[in-house]
């Protein structure tokens, strides 16, 4: 089987991506063209492969499943045209399940100077959109839209993991109004989350992906039609619970993981944000950011 093959580094982790299917690897190559390409002469972190579900599916009614270093058994087969999405999913899974050097948080993040905001929330709460707006409309440095890496050091730092931003459904149009089409990946329709389109972070975010930042504000966005914009501060223990539950590995990191989150919620204020409109969201964040000093 001839394999298409590429290596790419995102923040601290290098991925080896391969498949006998040409199209998804080529799509990944295009999407990641601005990222550092790993070389063959380097030890990489995780291998991810898209393989045919059954051997003849390579040619007929093409569908693929994924193999990787960390458990991928449960992934449902994906049509060939959505292969790029499968890679993204598999890459994230490796970080969520296998990466133990930092706390992996299911959160978006962005920075101004060396100070960062962490955006936590359930899928669909508006994390990706808010982080895309911050970086493209408010001049923030994009650190990541899906996973935030919190180093268990003193002082606590956030390591950038600036993967392409996974925009869904209405938020694609919201960002398309603001950003040139050349920074968008292909439109993937009919996925389990509706229509998905990747947006490359601004070039500066990729160029500075080894520059950490210090967390200064934690927000949890709640987008809902027709609500008046407002913020509410979380108690420390509530912030702890939200972060701990949003983490894929903190509970498995033992006392250093506990210690880091305790320090984080003591040092950094956390707020719920309610809004129905992206301009309101940006204004709420700006106000809190000014207050966080």
């Amino acid at each position: 089987m001839t394999m298409q093959h590429m290596r790419v580094r995102i923040g601290p982790a290098t991925f080896d991506i391969r498949s006998p299917f040409r199209a998804p690897v080529e799509a990944a190559r295009r999407l990641y063209a601005e990222y550092p390409q790993g070389s063959d002469d380097e030890i990489f972190d995780f291998a991810v492969a898209a393989v045919p579900t059954v051997w003849w599916r390579r040619w007929y009614r093409r569908s693929m499943t994924f193999r990787a270093d960390y458990m991928m058994e449960d992934i449902v087969p994906i049509e060939e045209r959505l292969g790029l999405l499968g890679f993204e999913m598999a890459v994230n899974m490796q970080m969520a399940l296998g990466y133990r050097r930092d706390i992996v948080l299911h959160a978006a993040s962005a920075a101004q100077g060396d100070r960062a905001i962490i955006i936590v929330g359930d899928s669909g709460a508006g994390k990706s959109t808010l982080s895309a707006l911050l970086s493209y409309s408010a001049g923030w440095r994009h650190l990541g839209d899906e996973l935030a890496l919190i180093a268990m050091d003193d002082p606590i730092t956030l390591k950038p993991y600036p993967r392409p931003i996974g925009l869904k459904n209405q938020s694609i149009a919201v960002m398309r109004e603001r950003v040139d089409g050349s920074r968008f990946g292909p439109e993937l329709t009919g996925t389990m989350k509706g229509t998905v389109r990747h947006l490359l972070p601004p070039a500066g975010a990729i160029a500075n992906m080894d520059v950490p930042a210090r967390p200064a504000l934690i927000v949890s966005p709640h987008f809902a039609e027709g609500v008046a914009p407002r913020t509410e501060q979380m108690s420390q223990s509530e912030a702890y619970m939200r972060l701990s539950v949003a983490s894929t590995n903190q509970l498995q990191l033992g006392e250093p993981g506990f210690d880091t989150l305790i320090r984080l919620v003591r040092e950094v204020p956390a707020y719920d944000l309610h809004y129905s409109d992206s301009e309101d969201a940006l204004k709420l964040v700006a106000d809190l950011w000014a207050k966080a000093g």
Partner: protein, 172 residues
């Protein structure tokens, strides 16, 4: 959980604080025996969840429901005029509208355990616990969904997190 106004806040109570507390001769009121007082974040459960975030043990989880909740899951204000109409309790939610909203009432210490909620919403189908009518339970689930997103303060903290998954499947 113990009522907050009747319990001390800090962990270590020094002698002075002791004397102060003792001199007030307060009554320490303990919570009901059946309501667990610890919530646990457990790494093995996080692992069982396959990396999709941790789980809080459902057994140690309690959400108290306010005595008057309307059909939208909002708390009925104390000063609202609630009256009976057509066999139901209702009130005018918007004073400028003629529309009436149904009100569901419970006793002062009514709560659900995490397990009850989990059972009642298993498989994405609402199946109210024994003794709770369907409409009332749906209103309560709506209330809990608000609580989860921080709209209503004061419900059991541990439940905010553990309920997230159960309530997500309840399509209300």
């Amino acid at each position: 959980m113990a009522n907050e106004t009747e319990t001390p806040e800090g962990t270590s109570i020094d002698a002075e604080e002791n004397a102060r507390v003792a001199s007030r001769r307060r009554v320490l009121k303990l919570g009901a025996i059946a309501v667990p007082a610890v919530a646990t974040l457990s790494p093995s459960m996080a692992m069982a969840n396959n990396g999709g975030g941790a789980a809080v043990s459902m057994m140690a989880c309690q959400v108290r429901i306010p005595s008057r909740i309307d059909a939208d899951g909002d708390v009925v204000p104390d000063n609202a005029h609630v009256f009976r109409q057509g066999g139901h309790w209702v009130y005018k939610k918007d004073p400028n509208s003629k529309q009436k909203t149904r009100v569901f009432r419970v006793g002062s210490n009514f709560s659900y355990s995490g397990q009850q909620i989990k059972d009642a919403t298993a498989g994405g189908v609402i199946n109210p616990p024994a003794g709770v009518g369907r409409h009332k339970f749906e209103a309560h689930v709506r209330y809990m969904q608000h609580v989860r997103s921080g709209n209503v303060p004061g419900a059991g903290l541990s439940c905010l997190v553990s309920l997230t998954n159960s309530l997500n499947v309840a399509n209300i």
